[in-house]
């Protein structure tokens, strides 16, 4: 039987406001526990919430970027449940009239195909604090610094059909929120968190299967692996005649498996009702239109522009525009060196690998845009070969200075002087009588391959600094003369 996986995502994005959604406490990450939890965040008796204007601005910007309806009148509800990281005993959130209504966005898949994913809605809500389980015998410690940080919860329709599509959607959301500058999108710090609703059904049928909710799968890689392994689990159960229990499951990355979260099993009744401490928020058309005018160029538009302005391939353009920072980096490098294709290759290749290795973002790149442009310029004017360039790049990354300094200091300048090249070629022919003899006797069609030996010898003796193009030309000429 052929199975189809159906996936919907719920993505929580922390908004990068200065202060919290309902209080004037700082949202800075990494402070000492409970030093950024004010009376309102701690739900001290008698305290009241006052909503943050910037959080609304950010949410509307997101809605506009998703081509979504904007809730001109939105209201906050209370979602009631007891948990120690939730000081008020209810979360202030939106249910009936969220700030962002239905919308849609395109995801890009390998091979250049595109697919539309629908947004169900997105709403503003407050984040909870954190429970820390280490260091206290049979106790948990509660840090409420994060309590009250503004979030938008983005709820997709169940439109994704594979783990790959789910990751592409998550990446798209990441890309949009970072382009808009409304979140730092840092998944390692929990700025962007993802839950996935996963079900399977026999391909060709319409009815949705029973779904499970995978909680807190907080990296692109885990999202992909968790969905895959959960779908396999469900298919396995169904193929053995079993049935799926609707439940919340936790992904265990170490074991690469999902397991039931028993604590969430107790049937909950959240008793939502409109928060009486907050009034309806009303937004005017003028306000919304004015915000639309301030939206930055978004990834899809930018990718199209890069294709036409820089003649990048669809793939290169998509890659380089996925993150605003890398697109900005690309444009800075390109402006300085005038080599779009090479620039894209270097950013998507060596630089991406380097950042990945060091686990850092392009903001923290040890090679600046100016340095990369300098390096590419030296490739372009034949001062160094592409191969040497990789060596120079590593040196720049290690803090050895810019390309020119490294080339100069280490004597990596490519030899492009005709008489020097000629001497190298003569030397290798003189030193390799056997190989020359074999070359002469060989069939015409096999000769180009055999030339590799001579090139290799020259590169070895010149420490890679000989201009490979010139070597090739000179060798072909000299060996030809011996035939």
């Amino acid at each position: 039987m052929e199975w189809e996986i159906v996936i919907g995502l719920e993505i929580h994005v922390q908004l990068s406001t200065q202060s919290k959604l309902f209080s004037g406490a700082s949202t800075r990450f990494g402070a000492e526990p409970n030093t950024q939890a004010c009376a309102v965040d701690l739900a001290m008796p008698g305290t009241l919430p006052v909503p943050n204007e910037e959080a609304f601005r950010y949410a509307v910007m997101f809605g506009l970027a998703m081509n979504a309806e904007i809730g001109k009148r939105s209201i906050f509800e209370r979602k009631n449940y007891f948990y120690p990281d939730l000081p008020k005993g209810y979360q202030t959130t939106q249910l009936e009239q969220p700030i962002v209504g239905p919308g849609e966005v395109e995801i890009h898949l390998e091979g250049g195909s595109h697919k539309k994913i629908r947004l169900h809605h997105a709403h503003l809500e407050e984040d909870a604090g954190k429970s820390l389980h280490e260091d206290f015998q049979s106790m948990s410690g509660i840090d409420l610094n994060r309590a009250g940080t503004p979030l938008i919860e983005i709820v997709s329709e169940p439109d994704m059909r594979s783990a790959v599509e789910a990751v592409a959607f998550l990446k798209k959301i990441h890309s949009i929120v970072t382009y808009l500058g409304i979140s730092d999108g840092d998944m390692s710090q929990g700025s962007l968190r993802c839950d996935a609703n996963v079900s399977v059904r026999v391909k060709g049928t319409d009815k949705l299967g029973t779904r499970t909710e995978l909680k807190n799968i907080n990296s692109f890689r885990f999202v992909e692996r968790a969905i895959k392994v959960e779908a396999e689990r469900q298919i396995d159960i169904l193929e053995n005649g079993g049935s799926i229990t609707q439940e919340t499951r936790l992904y265990d990355a170490d074991k690469n498996e999902t397991r039931s979260m028993r604590s969430k099993e107790v049937a909950n009744d959240y008793r939502y009702f409109p928060c009486p401490d907050l009034l309806p928020v009303s937004l005017t058309d003028d306000y919304i239109e004015q915000l639309r005018g301030t939206l930055p160029e978004l990834p899809d538009t930018k990718a199209l522009r890069f294709q036409s302005e820089y003649q990048l391939s669809v793939y290169d353009a998509d890659q380089v525009t996925q993150e605003r920072a890398s697109a900005d980096f690309f444009e800075a490098v390109c402006k300085s060196c005038g080599e779009p294709k090479l620039t894209a290759n270097w950013i998507n290749g060596e630089l991406a690998a380097l950042l990945n290795r060091q686990g850092i973002t392009i903001h923290q790149s040890p090679v600046s845009a100016e340095q990369l442009a300098g390096l590419i310029s030296r490739i372009k004017d034949n001062t160094i070969s592409s191969k040497t360039a990789k060596q120079v790049f590593e040196a720049i990354a290690d803090g050895a200075g810019n390309a020119d300094e490294v080339i100069e200091k280490r004597g990596l300048k490519q030899v492009s002087d005709t008489s020097a090249i000629e001497k190298m070629v003569d030397d290798v022919i003189a030193a390799s009588p056997t190989q020359v003899e074999n070359y002469r006797k060989a069939d015409e069609s096999k000769r180009p391959k055999m030339m590799g030996y001579f090139v290799g010898q020259i590169m070895k003796s010149s420490k890679g600094q000989a201009n490979p193009q010139m070597i090739n030309n000179m060798l072909r000429k000299k060996l030809g003369e011996l035939l």
Partner: protein, 95 residues
């Protein structure tokens, strides 16, 4: 309208209030009295009447995004029954 003790137990669980076995009967009866009182509402026709969550038709005023609060952890932690290393302590939270 009577409320059975099972319902009361469910409500007490949702509201996280321990009710002793001895008093649950009485609580059920009292709750039933109150619900009988509020059930008078069922008699009135409210078709087409918008629910009213606030007495006045005011619109929310939003606050500028400024940090106005400073660290008062010491004052607040002093109010707590059990703390350690700047954290509030509770019996172990199990996920």
């Amino acid at each position: 309208m009577a409320v059975d003790t099972q319902t009361v137990e469910k409500l007490a669980e949702l509201a996280r209030i321990a009710i002793s076995k001895q008093t649950i009967e009485e609580v059920s009866n009292r709750l039933g009295d109150v619900l009988q009182l509020v059930d008078q509402l069922q008699a009135v026709n409210t078709d087409g009447i918008a629910p009213m969550a606030h007495p006045l038709d005011e619109i929310q005023v939003l606050r500028a995004d400024k940090i106005t609060e400073s660290n008062n952890r010491k004052d607040f932690l002093e109010l707590a029954p059990q703390t350690e290393d700047g954290l509030y302590l509770v019996p172990k939270v199990i996920d």
